[in-house]
Symmetry: C2
């Protein structure tokens, strides 16, 4: 394995150079104006996989953005790992808040700044670099590797699950390895064993058939902005608890043992408050901030729009107003049932004088991993060796909606070996990725494939991990 570690160290500048080219491609999956960029990024990745030794690497079209698929069967008797990642990124607005342009990667203060640097292009590129290093140093990978990289993760992976279902034999693996989660700190590695689910919708309130002058019509019609505000204010209690009836019905309570573990890992409230720049932390009463984020569901507004947004004032009653909402879910909440409950609640509270339009977006189930599975323990050993500190087993407030379908369709354990930090500004301006993690992370990934080869081998002494 030392030869492989030497290879990634030797090629570090070339790896970084390739990552910059990857980051420069504006593969924003949510915006149709970027469709050609998304396609170009998929082709770029397939080329990179071929260069890393995956002769069959290819772009697989879907009804939406394409998948990039590849496999390298070293020996049918060796275990198989499926690596999953995503090459699409979030929109960049507000673009004027970026210090350097989001698609012009730049290094400052020991970090790579670019949209996607942390979520998820940086980690994806590191896996590809490791595949290539194994090929360069050993001529082959230490086990069979299948690769599936999608372009719709940021829009809820609408076409991945059907693909998984249809190709479940072709994708069969002993473990699924994903690097799209976070560590606890730059030198505190972690494996995520719990993810929240996601359910999202858009609410539009339509009033008059066209915008009206608020002097000439104020007092005559219901202002859609006010109707919207009134409606949305019914979604939460004053203490931050979701007020939609039934919302918490299926929430699995946190066992006292896990509450204690979470308390041990929790950052100091003062430090968190200062880091985020808020006057006070806030959320559902009766739970700590980390419990709320890891193990309690939330219902968040993600956008509000309607009327005049420019400088100064415009005395208008707009024809419509709208909001984007998303719920983060925990076991055993079902996204479709939650959306049913939220929609019912909104319809029941629909203000008079306006019409409600509801539209659902992507949904993903929450996930809890078997933390003692050999594959997860193998990744933990690799992280400990690379970072010099034991890996923590954590939950995460975010969602990777596709994780639960991987488990359901492939029946394999999912190893969430995250390399990001919660401070990476993912989904926000100035997203970045730590260069120190880049270096130690490459070592962790090299070690992880070797450890997985070893841990998943049907019989000891047969695998590449022994070399």
């Amino acid at each position: 394995m030392n030869a492989v570690l030497e290879a990634v160290r030797r090629e570090r500048d070339a790896i970084l150079d390739g990552l910059f080219r990857f980051l420069a491609l504006p593969s924003v999956s949510a915006l149709s104006v970027h469709k050609a960029d998304v396609d170009r990024t998929a082709a770029f990745l397939a080329d990179a996989l071929r260069e890393a030794g995956f002769a069959d690497a290819r772009v697989e079209p879907t009804a939406g953005h394409p998948l990039v698929v590849a496999s390298s069967v070293v020996d049918p008797l060796l275990p198989t790992v499926l690596f999953y990642g995503h090459y699409d990124v979030q929109p960049v607005d507000p673009e004027d808040r970026w210090t350097t342009p989001p698609f012009a990667p730049a290094i400052r203060d020991g970090r790579i700044y670019a949209r996607g640097a942390s979520d998820d292009k940086g980690p994806v590129w590191m896996h590809l670099a490791v595949f290539r290093a194994y090929r360069d140093a050993w001529g082959r990978l230490p086990l069979n590797v299948k690769v599936l990289i999608e372009g719709e993760e940021e829009i809820g992976s609408p076409h991945l699950e059907p693909y998984l279902a249809a190709h479940r034999h072709e994708l069969a693996a002993d473990a699924v390895l994903i690097s799209d989660t976070t560590m606890l700190g730059p030198d505190r590695p972690a494996i995520t064993v719990g993810l929240r689910g996601l359910a999202a919708l858009e609410v539009r309130v339509r009033g008059p058939k066209s915008d009206l002058h608020s002097g000439l019509y104020g007092g005559i019609v219901h202002n859609p902005l006010q109707a919207l505000v009134r409606l949305l204010a019914t979604l939460h209690d004053a203490d931050g608890r979701v007020a939609v009836p039934g919302f918490y019905d299926d929430v699995r309570p946190l066992p006292p043992s896990e509450r204690a573990e979470i308390a041990a890992l929790a950052p100091a409230a003062d430090a968190l408050r200062a880091e985020l720049g808020v006057p006070a932390l806030f959320g559902e009463a009766g739970f700590t901030p980390l419990e709320r984020n890891w193990a309690r569901p939330t219902l968040e507004l993600n956008g509000l729009f309607g009327g005049f947004q420019g400088e100064g004032i415009k005395t208008v009653i707009p024809a419509e107003a709208g909001a984007k909402l998303s719920a983060r879910l925990v076991p055993d909440q079902d996204p479709e049932r939650i959306l049913d409950l939220v929609e019912d609640h909104l319809r029941r509270h629909a203000p008079p004088g306006v019409v409600l339009d509801l539209r659902r977006f992507d949904a993903g189930r929450p996930y809890l991993a078997p933390a003692d599975h050999p594959a997860i323990r193998a990744a933990a050993r690799a992280l400990e060796a690379a970072f010099g500190r034991p890996a923590a087993f954590i939950r995460m407030g975010g969602s990777i909606p596709i994780v639960e379908p991987f488990r359901r369709h492939l029946g394999a354990p999912i190893v969430l070996m995250g390399l990001g930090l919660t401070t990476d500004n993912i989904h926000a301006p100035d997203e970045h990725f730590d260069l120190a993690i880049f270096d130690r992370g490459l070592e962790a990934i090299v070690r992880a494939y070797a450890e997985l080869a070893d841990a998943l081998a049907p019989a000891a002494g047969q695998t590449g991990a022994d070399r």
Copy 2:
């Protein structure tokens, strides 16, 4: 006077042609990107006034957008009318909802379509055309005329009142004539004797120092969008009544006689509902829609912004969210006191975990005219002669914040001889002005100056109106 009426009829195409050039200038006062357009429009108007015989017509700079000022003293013994209008227009967004571009005037279905066609460039241009017709037909106006046309009406006239105060002797007049209000219908002339006041502010709710991922931070901080919604929902009761304590304290009750007059003028609720395209009318309980619009105060949201507004979903907790609000006021509410009350209310209800930023915009007092003043009766006769039907004396839900300062500084009655229709889509896409009103309105304006010369003359038998 027949010679003057003949002159406007003969020159009709040239007048319309000039109006189109005026409408093509994008004099949007609210947007700094249009500063040069606003200046160009002022210069264009000063030229037009010089061509209409006002040798001293000039652009007067202010700390904001310039005024256009002119005067024509025919004879110091004749009465004097001050004509006021505004050459600035509202922003045009959403621009994609215009059938033809807002600054490319077009005639369709007997209407002139353009931003400002009705509010207020069309009526301003008609007065200028009448001045010119008097000069062409008679060599002079029937009385002394002073002209004051501003470029900041749509942003609350921040620099007009100081100008009025400083130039009150130079602007002294026996009446102020303004055409920036509406008729009751294309053949139902009206003089507005009551205007609502205006008070506006912007609310910003600031939370974390930068946008956050709603998975990684949802449940930890107060989402500024949710804090904003919660805060704004406290401004009204469920029945549409403003819930700010003290808001209605100074409202002068409607006398039963005026309630009866308003009831007689009110459109059928069904027709109004259909015209506006709403499922139901809505507003403060206990009052009819027209009472609410003419004689009751309102507090309206004019804009909401924050977070993601594009296609699809983006799971973000934005760093801030905001809203634009404006109140329409009736006698004897004071705008500054109302803003104090609204700001106190907002501060008292400020949600935890966020910081509130409040910013005041323009404010204008409500106005009630002396409906039996000879100048108002003179204008009513002119309208009746031109439209063949008696002018109604109405209130209006809108505001012309500058009207009340005219009364206060000049001590003259204000004659609101409106030529617009409530259906003109002012402040909205597809603003338009009726061509039939254009023609009959020109006649009404010709007659109005003659009637005013007569009605305001110190002794009968001395004025141009007798010719």
